[in-house]
Point group: C2
Chain length 285, copies 2
């Protein structure tokens, strides 16, 4: 008996199988093509195992309300062919076992809480700053979910005084994701984030927006710790700038833990999601 | 046996006693002076009753984390004499009965959920737009509380293109409260909200900020319904404008219930807090 996990992303799927102690037995990457083609490969991977349960962390937006018809579906996504695809139903039809269905970032938050940078806490916010910006929340050890999956990357933000970039979100232009995800960083500076010199002024703008968002999440959700992941967060100096900006913007209004402990980097780089999904599978079997 | 409730505000305290069916037996208003003087009057009111439990909804910020030393305290408040006052301890020393301690807006949210505009739901956000802006959240029928009490009135917002008002928050200048609470509305227009003509351009700015905040709360908390209260929300046309703006700003990104049902006005005008506090008292006795 073993646990299965799927981290479903817009460019690739990661599928893994682990033993009862959550030791990973096998892991594969599947490019995200059409749902049919992708699932063919998912099935051919999992078919070799006697699975007890599966945990899924999926790109979104997704239907997460069990009382709604779209539960288990991928909703309106720019990813061709996936809008209104019945992800959970497709999987359940093949494997008659318990499945946990949540967002990629919720799964990552869960992974970080139990085995990563938020170990020992009962709540955390996980925020990825990569191709997009997305957040997952654990409260009292449980995935925090309202009537829809949170899409906290799309909040509007106060402008940095030196920033006139129009923003890149197809829905909102200058929401957080539109101003501070990897592609907007690149568009504003004309250079990819990984190639941008540390002293480029764009990093101040970047830190300003991320810090502001962390302030908003703090004032609404008040998690014990905020874990940052994603490609853009590979920059040490950015993390330092974010912490400084956060302190400046909060202006001492609400007491938060020491910023070095409150705002941290992921403890399971690029693995929080798949490990969180395995951990979620374990919870229901 | 009866239940007691305190709605603690910066200008006045409302104290109430209700019977086992939550029918209010007596209610008084006490002006907020010094903690000592105010509590003298609170005690003299409650002493006449055999109380089973007390529910408190207090102005803030307050210490709401039972694991911290400041639990039950009023924290840094501009209200003279109240910073670091041990509210809960003072009450507990006098009455050795169960007490529920939460923010004024959480109590109001609870009241609205069980007996007001959010009846029949299991989650709601209550937002007051009055002298300040504050929000309370119920999730799964319980007060939602992270490590600190939420102070969601102080999130930063994207500027309305026609608004150059600097903002009035002593901590953040142009946070939501600094730009859209009653006093800022008055400062921007030069006229009190209650006297402002319906066609004054300031209402568009007002609606823009409130709607934007509701979008942020939706994307982070995703409640079933948002209940708006407070003096400024006495304006019918403002509620309509907020709904329109909310729809525009969301740009269809996340599915939310029909906006007429999703964004509503309080069902217990000026009473949500005290009724919520009574209901909370009932939960622990
Ligand atoms: N070291 C780095 N510094 C800054 N930006 C980076 C770095 N590495 C990757 N990025 C940016 O992060 C984005 C990709 O994010 P990533 O988290 O790797 O993938 P995804 O979000 O698609 O899962 C790209 O915009 C890329 O330019
Ligand atoms: N009908 C109204 N229209 C617009 N603004 C109003 C109205 N009534 C009161 N206000 C404003 O609301 C604020 C007071 O809010 P209120 O909720 O009554 O009190 P508080 O927040 O202090 O408990 C003041 O700024 C006042 O100008
Ligand atoms: Zn957006
Ligand atoms: Zn403020």
């Amino acid at each position: 008996m073993c646990y299965g996990a799927i981290e479903a992303g817009g460019t690739k799927f990661v599928c893994a199988v682990a033993d009862e102690n959550l030791k990973i037995i096998k892991k594969v990457q599947i490019p995200t093509t059409s749902p049919q083609e992708t699932f063919k490969q998912i099935f051919s991977f999992f078919n070799a195992y006697d699975l007890k349960a599966i945990g899924i962390g999926s790109f979104g937006p997704i239907g997460t309300n069990p009382n709604q018809d779209n539960y288990g579906y991928i909703l309106a996504t720019p990813k061709k062919g996936w809008t209104n695809f019945d992800f959970l139903g497709t999987l359940k039809k093949r494997y008659d076992i318990p499945v946990v269905w949540t967002t990629d970032v919720n799964a990552a938050a869960y992974g970080e809480l139990l085995m990563g940078a938020a170990q020992g806490k009962t709540s955390c916010l996980y925020l990825t700053v990569g191709t997009g910006i997305g957040g997952g929340v654990i409260m009292d050890g449980q995935i925090f979910q309202g009537i829809a999956s949170p899409e906290m990357g799309h909040i509007y933000v106060k402008r940095h005084p030196q920033d006139e970039y129009e923003g890149i979100c197809p829905y909102h232009h200058d929401c957080l994701e539109g101003l501070a995800a990897g592609p907007s960083l690149e568009a504003r500076a004309g250079i990819k984030g990984q190639d941008l010199p540390i002293d480029h002024p764009v990093w101040d703008i970047q830190a300003y927006y991320i810090a502001q968002a962390l302030m908003t999440y703090t004032l609404t959700l008040s998690p014990e710790v905020i874990v940052l992941g994603g490609g853009v967060m590979n920059q040490d100096h950015l993390l330092r700038k974010i912490r400084q900006e956060f302190t400046t913007q909060m202006a001492g209004y609400v007491e938060t833990p020491d910023v070095e402990e409150y705002i941290v980097r992921w403890g399971l780089p690029n693995k929080s999601g798949i490990i969180g999904s395995l951990l979620l599978a374990q919870t229901i079997s």
